[in-house]
């Protein structure tokens, strides 16, 4: 019974209850072993936390990329069919048709390493060696003119030297302060300047599946 009381109290003010004193509340689960944590804890952060020891160069990465990546992303990262474009797009984010790539949009190089390692190659995830991931990351940075030397060694020690072009391109959610869609009283009558007419039709594009149905 007392456990239920504890749970209720700590639900209301969890922060005060957090910590060792509240561990073993239900006595469920078992400790994770170091080997188990190592097997699954693969995430990388912008500060380099999580990066394994290893290294690679863009020149080495080109070989792996050609074998493992180019079939979808293209020899030059241009993207085949609708697979993602990886290269280019610099200075297009203000354009009418921005091209968002690793080089033009991604704020952190750690995201490349993390994503390539956890989810690529598509259909054979987590099959690349750590050094291969460093090499592919270096090659992607090289193709995007972020690394200038294709023999430069990218490693867990040099990783923090990389500064992505769009690192300052992100701002926090401003929907409340800026967008002004809260607390306004909606208009109910005569809300437009005269009668409303159609200005655009989906039919013109005709991109709906099974449109004949």
């Amino acid at each position: 019974m007392s456990k239920w009381v504890d749970t209720a109290l700590c639900t209301a003010a969890f922060v005060m209850c957090a910590g060792p004193s509240f561990a073993d509340a239900f006595g469920l689960g078992r400790p994770a072993t170091p080997a188990e944590i190592a097997a699954w804890d693969i995430d990388i952060r912008p500060d380099g936390a999580g990066l394994p020891i290893g290294q690679g160069t863009a020149a080495e990465g080109e070989e792996v990329y050609s074998e493992q990546c180019a079939v979808c992303h293209g020899d030059f990262g241009e993207g085949i069919d609708r697979w993602p474009i990886l290269v280019g797009g610099g200075d297009t984010l203000e354009n009418d048709r921005p091209v968002k790539t690793i080089g033009s949009y991604w704020p952190y190089a750690s995201t490349i390493w993390d994503y390539v390692h956890r989810a690529m190659p598509f259909g054979e995830a987590q099959s690349l060696e750590d050094d291969e991931v460093y090499a592919i990351t270096a090659y992607l940075l090289y193709m995007n003119d972020i690394l200038e030397d294709d023999e430069a060694v990218l490693s867990n020690e040099t990783f923090s030297d990389i500064v992505m072009p769009n690192v300052d391109g992100f701002i926090e959610d401003g929907r409340v302060e800026i967008d002004g869609m809260k607390g306004v009283e909606p208009c109910m009558n005569d809300c437009t300047d005269g009668p409303v007419s159609v200005t655009m039709r989906a039919r013109v594009l005709d991109v709906t599946p099974d449109a004949e149905n």
Partner: protein
């Protein structure tokens, strides 16, 4: 018009129509064979109880299915399909019709081999089996899940003819699961922890950063939906439920939760799910789903098939910030509005069903709906939203949808001005 050769006369046409009720007794009408002829289902026995151990819908409902838009993505393994909103009633989405979004296909996981690990800034990294998780106290909660890219194809203008395609990346089910805070308490969260990162066991190993406050507030670790085990395409055997927040965060096939002091800035919260504004800056961590509504009937896939007269308009409204206080409906493209009638349960961060019944005079209509949530957020017009967001956000398009109903009842996705 009433047609004496038509065996599918509506009740209204039978009672009224052009002839008028006064003529009812005198006008000769063909008898309805649905009544006068013996039907096979009346005469002969049907299937026994075990014909379908897991029941399926009537064969006459075969078009109530999820559909995809093939040109949207490179491969169906990393793609999306859409809930047939125009075929649904009430607020609960049947499990088999909940839209799908996968990044590495549907993982088929043996629950006996599934584990949930909690590690990082905790006193005691733990591993749970499915059996362990089901020994925690459970909660049942009804929540919508909306992909942040729902309606994303409509930023530049009317594009797809059907609410299934314009608004079908949303569903709403009752989840059964364990409050995430119980699991975190079990591991003992360290005082410097501020974030968690759920991770999937599928071939995309999906990850998102979620503030610890949200994790402790209302997140669930769910193993059931609408009374049965999660469907594989919805994360069987385990997913995280992040009420009101964009669907990408509701990591499926959940195998691990790491606790940390900073966000991870992984691919799905940098390259994707950030909202590019005019001027080249992008908003990040735009988690909450804005107040939104859509008329599901009539809509392009569900035209009006009856004559003028009493007409039922039906739709859905939802908000990631609370419940729906009010829905207004316009039949003249937003010039004049009338309050719609909300019917059925009203839960925070769940779909709401609304109706507007009116006497259609048979003339063309420009139908719109506009929702207001319990926090005072008002669904904006398309122009108002574009004024502040531009057209390259991809995500969080909650603007007011317009359907053009033609004289014959045919419906088209349009924009108005």
């Amino acid at each position: 018009m009433a047609n004496s050769d038509n065996p599918t006369l509506s009740r209204r046409a039978m009672l009224g129509g052009v002839a008028g009720s006064a003529a009812l007794a005198t006008v000769a009408r063909a008898n309805d064979p649905a009544i006068t002829e013996m039907q096979e289902w009346t005469q002969y026995l049907g299937d026994g109880v075990d014909a379908a151990p897991y029941g399926v819908p009537s064969e006459y409902e075969a078009d109530a299915v999820r559909r995809d838009v093939p040109w949207l993505t490179a491969d169906p393994v990393s793609s999306v399909n859409f809930t047939p909103l125009h075929k649904l009633e009430g607020i609960i989405t049947p499990n088999g019709l909940c839209f799908e979004r996968h990044h590495g296909g549907v993982a088929q996981i043996d629950p006996a081999m599934h584990r949930l690990m909690i590690n990082g800034l905790v006193d005691k990294p733990l591993v749970f089996t499915m059996e362990d998780i089901k020994r925690f106290p459970r909660e049942n909660r009804i929540y919508f899940l909306e992909c942040a890219a729902n309606t994303g194809m409509e930023w530049r203008g009317a594009q797809l003819n059907g609410c299934q395609f314009t608004h079908g990346m949303v569903h709403c089910v009752m989840y059964t699961g364990v409050p995430l805070r119980y699991l975190l308490e079990e591991a003992g969260v360290k005082t410097n922890a501020k974030w968690i990162m759920p991770e999937g066991a599928d071939a995309s190993a999906m990850t998102r950063s979620i503030p610890l406050d949200k994790a402790l507030d209302d997140c669930l670790i769910a193993f059931a939906m609408n009374g049965e085990a999660l469907r594989p395409e919805q994360g069987y055997p385990l997913r995280i439920v992040v009420p009101g927040w964009e669907g990408n965060m509701w990591v499926k096939w959940l195998r691990r939760i790491e606790v940390g002091d900073e966000p991870w800035h992984h691919r799905e919260e940098t390259s994707k799910y950030t909202d590019l504004l005019e001027g080249g800056k992008a908003r990040r961590f735009t988690w909450e789903m804005d107040v939104k509504s859509v008329i599901t009937n009539p809509s392009p896939q569900a035209p009006i098939t009856h004559e003028k007269g009493h007409t039922v308009l039906s739709g859905l409204a939802w908000s990631g910030r609370g419940n729906i206080k009010r829905v207004d409906v316009s039949i003249d493209g937003g010039r004049n509005w009338r309050p719609a009638r909300i019917d059925g349960p009203s839960h925070d961060k769940a779909l709401h069903r609304f109706y507007h019944e009116f006497d259609w005079d048979g003339s063309p209509l420009l139908l719109q709906s506009r929702a207001v949530d319990s926090e005072g957020w008002v669904q904006p017009t398309k122009d108002a939203l574009r004024d502040v967001r531009g057209t390259e956000s991809i995500y969080h398009n909650n603007s007011i949808q317009t359907w053009h109903v033609r004289k014959g009842g045919e419906v088209e996705n349009v924009e108005v001005g």
